[in-house]
Point group: C2
Chain length 421, copies 2
């Protein structure tokens, strides 16, 4: 370890920032609905950019709308030490998922700035665009585009349910920030390291009464889209024998999948989260059903075996309709480097904060970053493990503990002679 002086974060400022952010896209149920680059999400970017501008941090936006706030370092050749997460939420999202990692990293830069410390390497906060993948499918596309895993052009052309393109949204973001002198960040520009702070979104840390989770990796995922095509008919006149009811066939498929993915050990994560019935009219036999399958597991062998069996099972279950199966997302389990994990552990130990190693059930941008630079993640507990829910909550002392560790880790890594030392 180098001998950088300790820097204390301002935990009240940090909590107030969380409560202010929760107003942007606030729902009646106490949660947040802040789709990627919707008006409230752009306003959140703008508010942080103003704070960054006031401290003379530079503001950089890349071609996909990923946004970076950069505090310069003393070594002009040093790569940036980067932390952050995302600001978008699920439609029924909470006040901490994503934004905690952004605000913790922002607090790190402000606290280090307040302490008047010059770091060798530049420090950066990143807000990855479109992590949730709900307004524009699929998820984690900001880091996927940045690291070259996904192509920019089709994702900019993608439209939301209202027909608005991501390209138009990125232009709207740029316009909203224009008065603050925004620079351009090239996609794929190298980082020294990336470390992401996030709420756990599961019950383990809370149950263990441990404030810091050192994330060892992320389980793998396969996401499927299944479309069943039948024929619309009048609900009062068409006998069952004459129907090609897309709903009835979709239910037969769902039953088959529920059986197939049932796992007594309860390690398989299998979710049908979206199930759209067309035309969706009370007196009309459905002509089409579109539904999603979200399948995750820590073991690549299980992902291969069960995942590959899905399409044949779907085709065997369907009775009289046509069926189409797509797999837009497939990601192997990710293992993070020890280097970042060790920096988190050392920082937690120095602060007297309990920690434990933990595996991530949720996907994060750190997944794609792990192939781009040394990457790690830190979790804090959230109440009851509840997330993607308006009731999602985290305790102020855990938010502060996580941000303090991120601050210490960023300072340590940016002060070292070379980030890989």
């Amino acid at each position: 370890m180098t001998n950088s002086p300790p820097v204390a974060i301002d935990s009240e400022r940090l909590w107030a920032r969380h409560m202010a952010a929760a107003q942007l896209g606030a729902t009646a149920g106490g949660g947040v609905n802040r789709g990627a680059l919707t008006a409230p999400d752009i306003e959140l970017h703008r508010q942080l950019a103003e704070l960054a501008h006031a401290r003379s941090f530079s503001i950089l936006v890349d071609d996909y709308g990923n946004t970076f706030f950069r505090r310069a370092g003393s070594d002009p050749h040093a790569l940036a030490v980067v932390s952050g997460s995302h600001s978008d939420t699920q439609p029924s999202g909470g006040r901490f998922d994503g934004i905690f990692g952004v605000l913790a990293a922002f607090e790190a830069l402000e606290a280090i700035d307040d302490a008047g410390i010059d770091t060798r390497a530049p420090l950066e906060v990143v807000i990855w665009n479109n992590e949730e993948g709900e307004r524009f499918r699929p998820s984690q596309m900001g880091s996927a585009v940045y690291t070259g895993v996904a192509e920019l052009a089709p994702l900019l052309a993608a439209t939301d349910d209202a027909g608005r393109s991501m390209d138009a949204c990125v232009q709207a973001l740029r316009s909203a920030l224009a008065y603050l002198h925004v620079g351009r960040r090239a996609l794929g520009e190298a980082f020294a390291v990336f470390v992401e702070a996030h709420i756990e979104q599961g019950p383990i840390l809370e149950a263990a009464r441990v404030p810091i989770g050192v994330v060892s990796g992320i389980q793998g995922t396969r996401k499927f889209e299944i479309e069943v095509i039948g024929d619309a008919a009048h609900a009062g006149t068409m006998p069952r024998s004459g129907r090609r009811d897309a709903f009835v066939d979709a239910i037969a498929i769902v039953n088959r999948l529920h059986e197939m993915f049932h796992d007594a050990a309860d390690e398989v994560r299998f979710t049908i989260g979206r199930f759209d019935v067309y035309p969706g009219a009370l007196a009309v036999v459905p002509e089409r059903v579109w539904f999603s399958v979200d399948f995750r597991h820590p073991d690549e062998a299980v992902l291969v075996a069960l995942g590959d069996a899905l399409e044949p099972a779907v085709k065997a279950a369907v009775r009289c309709c046509e069926v189409l199966v797509k797999e837009p997302v497939r990601a192997r389990p990710t293992q993070f480097t020890d280097m970042i994990a060790n920096a988190i552990i050392q920082a937690a130990d120095r602060r007297g904060l309990a920690w434990r190693s933990i595996y991530s059930g949720a996907g994060h941008d750190a997944r794609y970053m792990a192939a781009h630079c040394p990457t790690g993640m830190l979790f804090i507990p959230c109440d009851g493990g509840i997330s993607h829910n308006e009731r999602e909550n985290a305790q102020p002392e855990h938010v502060a503990a996580g941000a303090q560790v991120i601050t210490d880790v960023m300072l340590e890594l940016a002060t070292r002679a070379r980030p890989s030392d």
Copy 2:
């Protein structure tokens, strides 16, 4: 029969009117999406009102937006002989459902007007508002409000998915017609008779090669709305054992209902047409599912036995979620009077058109009218029995035959000394 001179309809005019109407709300798939009192539906009302105005028919609109075109009779005390149907469609509707009955009645008035015949009783065309019950649930509310079966105020306050009220839509209709001197029709004003022409929406007449169906009655219906309430959770982190997945419980209910309503004789009509999953996000365990059940049968005893068993079955099938069951619509099987049926039969016979008695699987406004005045219905075949589908089609000769019989029936009933003679 009285000796009114025969009046021939203009079948080319009638067909052209159908093709013009199909342009209002035309879908890419060759069908029609014309929700109740949407802009295209109001435009259709306006076009017919202009034609009515040009012939000095009066135009009357009631408080729910039911619209009447009236050709005066010679007896100021005579009640109107009324025919018509609806102009709204299902979202994936066709070019004949509803509008055929409106245009056939309108053709009757025009043909009789062209022939210069004075009838004793006034003749009226009605366009019942909101028959399909899709933009505003439930169906056939125009005739239900008119006959006092449903209350006006809550139905005017009802809003569509965009939050627009029926009241605002009725005002928009009134504004669009204002330049044509629109009168007010009191709800519940008595009719001499009501006769509705409609496509069969089933395969019987086509298979029998018979152009005219004399409708004996309408099967009964019970419509249910089922809401399953669980808890949103993260699809990657929450184990199955910790979930209250509203989708999984809804599927359990659906499986139970599919079993329970399965009928080897294929007389039960059971349809789940709408099935909404909230929040409907790929990575979120569903917190809520809302779905509809449309159940119909000709036998009241079956409606009672199976219908009453639904709620207990739903509650037994649900596992860990809450469930709510509503039954917004319940209608017994309807039997039409012989008086109208006999007038249809006599007219068909005089024109040399084959007819057969037929029972209606679909619901119609004639259901509610049957309790208000002597009521009947006439069906024409439609291709393959297909309806509530963009491919719905009818043959020009059947459209003409049906309209000719409606014309003859209206003329006959309006010429008699008293309609009940």
